[in-house]
Symmetry: C2
Amino acid sequence: MKIIPVKGTRDFYPEPMRLRNWIIDAWRRVSLRNGFEEYDSPIFEYLDLFTIKSGDEIVSQLFSFTDRGGRSLAIRPEITPSLARMVNAKIHSLPRPIKWFSVPRVCRAERPQRGRLREFFQWNVDVIGSDSVLADAECIFVAADFLREVGLAADDVTVRIGSRALTTAVLGAAGVPADAFDAVLPVLDKRPKVTEDEFRKLAAQAGLSNEQVAAVERFQDAADLDQAAEAVGALEGTDQDLAVLRDLMATLDAMGAGAYCRLDLRIVRGLAYYTGIVYEIIAAGERAVAGGGRYDNLLEVLGGPKVGGTGFGMGDVVLGLLLKDKGKVPDDVLARRVDFFVVDDGEGTFAKVLEVVGALRRMGLTAEYSYKRQNVGKQLKAANRCQARHVVIVRPGAVAVKDMAAGEQKEMSLEAFLASPGGDG
Amino acid sequence: MKIIPVKGTRDFYPEPMRLRNWIIDAWRRVSLRNGFEEYDSPIFEYLDLFTIKSGDEIVSQLFSFTDRGGRSLAIRPEITPSLARMVNAKIHSLPRPIKWFSVPRVCRAERPQRGRLREFFQWNVDVIGSDSVLADAECIFVAADFLREVGLAADDVTVRIGSRALTTAVLGAAGVPADAFDAVLPVLDKRPKVTEDEFRKLAAQAGLSNEQVAAVERFQDAADLDQAAEAVGALEGTDQDLAVLRDLMATLDAMGAGAYCRLDLRIVRGLAYYTGIVYEIIAAGERAVAGGGRYDNLLEVLGGPKVGGTGFGMGDVVLGLLLKDKGKVPDDVLARRVDFFVVDDGEGTFAKVLEVVGALRRMGLTAEYSYKRQNVGKQLKAANRCQARHVVIVRPGAVAVKDMAAGEQKEMSLEAFLASPGGDG
């Protein structure tokens, strides 16, 4: 009986696995040097954890199930609710700000398409317990630091920064009632992705008048903070929201990440829980690589104190496509690495081959040999198949070490070789 | 509303996360230097994949669910069926032997207890496509190489090696019918874990006569291969099985792992699919850290050709307890690492602090600073809280760099510092 993988999931054979590890290692390295500590949550949680925050409509996107004890559980579709749960449980003993990152595997019961799968890995970077715009800047800096780390330049991909707070202020001033925001914001979020006609149709369906649409568009199309201030006018509290954006940009400039960042007030994000700065990392072709923002009520909604947070998520699927398209994945990342292939010469040296293989591995070098007792030529072919850098031919009383790239071969005693095997290890 | 994690799952706060990463990094490092390539499968598969191999009784140990398309799916309780599925799908293009490892997260709907959780990580190391005993030796060598790598010695933990092939030969010779083996083998597997009385009771329940029990015990209690040969007698095919064990031991000796390995014919393993050599890694207190063996029919059962495999699995839970009990986890593994904490002196140097933080991070060094503009004393306290190794105080025109362990402080220009920040990075 043949069994296939479930559609929308991936089998990671060694080559795609090396790409995945290369991405995740870079996520980890960059997170750590930016002072973030890694955490993780269980792959499944009580279903309630996900519905409380995002409402019942998310249930259709969840893989949920009932265990033998009758508990309603679900595989995590994102890690932010679990993060809030974990922080809430230790809120009084964790020193703040809490700077944490994670690389969870998450699953969503979506229809699979290019760039969107039912199972993927999502880098999450969050600062909890600071209201300072420096915390928002910190997260955006980490994202930019990663883009630079993997060779993506500011003309490949940019962080586009908007303000949920200013957007809702403009909506309010235009007469859109606060209880309509949850329906209107996802429509505004779609604006950069659809035609102007489609947007106006969606806006009308969400109950926006032509005047309201015009007011929002005037604000969203502001090219800089001065134009944004003009569009917003003299609304209560917006001075502070504008100042936050100004500080954010200045901080990112001072830290050396300004080139990657630009104001784009069309960014509002779809999720309900954002309260302040929001941003998306967009690559050529309007592909969103990451998104995030400030959420100041989430911990409270999940039974904790009113402690604010800010952060972003970046999936591995669109990112992986982008890195491949731009030729940013180094060849040696995808190749297998074998330092030594050890060969016996047929003169009774096989026990020595085993000894050499064991010794090299204990030194941390990758060593291979053939399970079949074959002639030297066949063993060399096997060495080539696994792209070994060096071949060691074990003869009675000596070894010959061949550098496969340079084609050079040296003879030496076994002891001399094991004392300093080299191998670029 | 307070939500708790599901019983039997773990929240990985930063400290336990660092322990988990330390273990998994060692698993990866040791696998790679032994010439194994990493793979991974989806976290969920079609339910059939797990029931075909292990029978319907495994369903009660599975977290299974139905997706919106009506498909019966389950979270993987182990990765071996997915491995067999993946290898079968590319069996004609993969060069053999296939040496692969994985570190899957797996979930089992078991009753949680000490050392047994409903979600854990399991290192899997397998060689597929070789009938040679060298492939079995390779896997056992990898396990021993890991034990040594994390500081566990041969008196902490041993690999106990048995033979499913010899065990079933002895059972057959004693008159136990082949179709009773699936019921009898799990009873033999329990023998080292229960009292002699309990074992005899279980054996009787499985249909073994006193004479059959005595024959099995005589074989299982053989102290070496000569005694085992004597207990087995002149049964067909057993010469070869005994020779395989002899070769295995000689190979492990030659590779330098003999000290960790010993014959223990009481080891039979519970799972039905083992066909040859079987082994368990047992720590003091009879705690099983890992188990494995040869399976020569599994790929065929899952719709592939008759290609044999051999390998083992090692979970992170019992291993983690053992490493802690034995004091083998280095202190610095559990501690946070911050190279530099950058402080402003209140004389308008904060923009320079941001610049220094950004520059250090881009160099790969971990740099932190306080989001609050506080006096130098409070910032130094924050530096201590995150265990920073160095503090950099940014003054107009110069920096003071303090080594927190040595207590030494040096003044230099900002340029000189950034040209060579040190930091033991």
